[in-house]
Symmetry: C2
Subunit: 254 residues, 2 copies
């Protein structure tokens, strides 16, 4: 890399800075759901002027973390339990479709081995004697990579984009479930189960079993749903999920 200006183009540096900071503020709960986000407050906290702040607000609204207020400006979006399940559900559907197409296309050996590498690395983590925060974060990264690779194998830009849009909601991400139960005793059991599904999808892809690829990928998303449900029943652990503070659960019959 001879040019420093290549990857993080300094042209939109201020906008990017504002965008990242704002997203962090929302996900960390620094701003609570339903709250207005005045531009001047962001100017003060980020040190950039209103123009890039404005661009960042538009982008975050597109991501779905903000929504326009009636009188102008934006408020932090609030989600309820139904939204969460809905998002996971649709993600499962899209990933299922992606898996099916991927299997139909007969992925190359190189692609398959990329996936296998992911699974292997995750296996290594699960096999460890103790699981700390470090390990969880590593697992999350690998898991996200696995899912991104899987979706990419469908070679459908539209599908890929659709999944990306949903996954920007942090609790809809394929790794939300990992953090959701990071304190539960049976964390390892869940990760292991998840890995079995990863492997099953992989096998189905390799075998061109498109039906099976789809159904397993779809079922895989149910793991996330069940886990979040379990977490919700215990009432507390939603804070562990990025953006968990955005979820307004009217805890009730379960």
């Amino acid at each position: 890399m001879s040019r420093l200006t290549r990857n993080g183009d300094p042209r939109a540096a201020q906008t990017l800075k504002a965008q990242l900071r704002l997203r962090q503020m929302i996900l960390d709960g620094e701003l609570s759901a339903g709250e207005r986000v005045p531009e001047l407050m962001l100017v003060e906290r980020t040190g950039v002027s209103r123009t890039p702040i404005r661009a960042a607000l538009l982008r975050l609204a597109e991501e779905g973390l903000l929504e326009p207020a009636d009188s102008g400006g934006f408020v932090v979006r609030a989600f309820d339990e139904a939204d969460v399940y809905d998002a996971i559900d649709v993600r499962g559907m899209l990933e299922g479709a992606a898996a099916r197409r991927a299997a139909q296309r007969r992925p190359s050996r190189a692609d398959l081995s990329d996936l296998r590498d992911c699974v292997g690395a995750m296996d290594a983590i699960v096999a460890r004697r103790t699981l700390g925060v470090e390990q969880f974060l590593d697992f999350v990264r690998l898991n996200e990579r696995y899912h991104a690779l899987l979706v990419g194998l469908a070679h459908s830009p539209v599908l890929t984009r659709a999944v990306e849009r949903i996954v920007t909601l942090p609790f809809a991400s394929p790794s939300a479930f990992v953090m959701a139960q990071s304190e539960l005793a049976d964390a390892r059991r869940i990760l292991t189960l998840s890995q079995e599904q990863h492997r099953a999808i992989l096998e189905a892809l390799a075998a061109g079993a498109n039906e099976r690829a789809e159904s397993v990928a779809r079922e895989h998303s149910n793991l996330a749903k069940h886990n979040l449900h379990a977490a919700a029943k215990r009432d507390a652990p939603l804070d562990k999920i990025a953006g968990g503070n955005l979820i307004r659960l009217r805890m009730a019959a379960v």
Copy 2:
């Protein structure tokens, strides 16, 4: 319309104006695919200042009609045949899923009758002695309404939004096929076939036949694909589709 824009109020009037005009310019082919879109040119043509122009550019980029240029700014996005089929395919998948869920939920009589009204109105158009541009436009509007209602019946905000995002690409819209063959002699035959599918979906919904609802809704999107394919083979009629100029078809083996 998108949830991101407050349409009624005069607060964002300039931005909205710029957004609408720019979209029109792109879809009408006033700007050709791959072309840069300088802000000052838009300032000149729309009469609003750079700030709302900028907002409009961001929004159109989000819609997918523009893409960011390496050196900053935006260019009109170009699509190829594969993109078009891909988009229609994914739309079909999503509408299929929506139809399935709608059937599972057992839509209310009121909802069903809304759909029935659409179909009825479209029937009336198809039954006419002659079909002119007027009739086609009416059919398009009704068809779009039918599809929007159908997707809405799934009661999945995430799914709805995903479809909306895809449909902003004009050639992926459920009505693209209507204009695609507006000059062909067998237009009425196609519309009739389309109506049969509309009716079949409706019946499946009423009967709670979720499998059937899904498969018919899915198949329905293939009609669009086949029609575009036929249109592409004849080489010319793509101009009839809104945004057809954005499609770079490397016409080849068909």
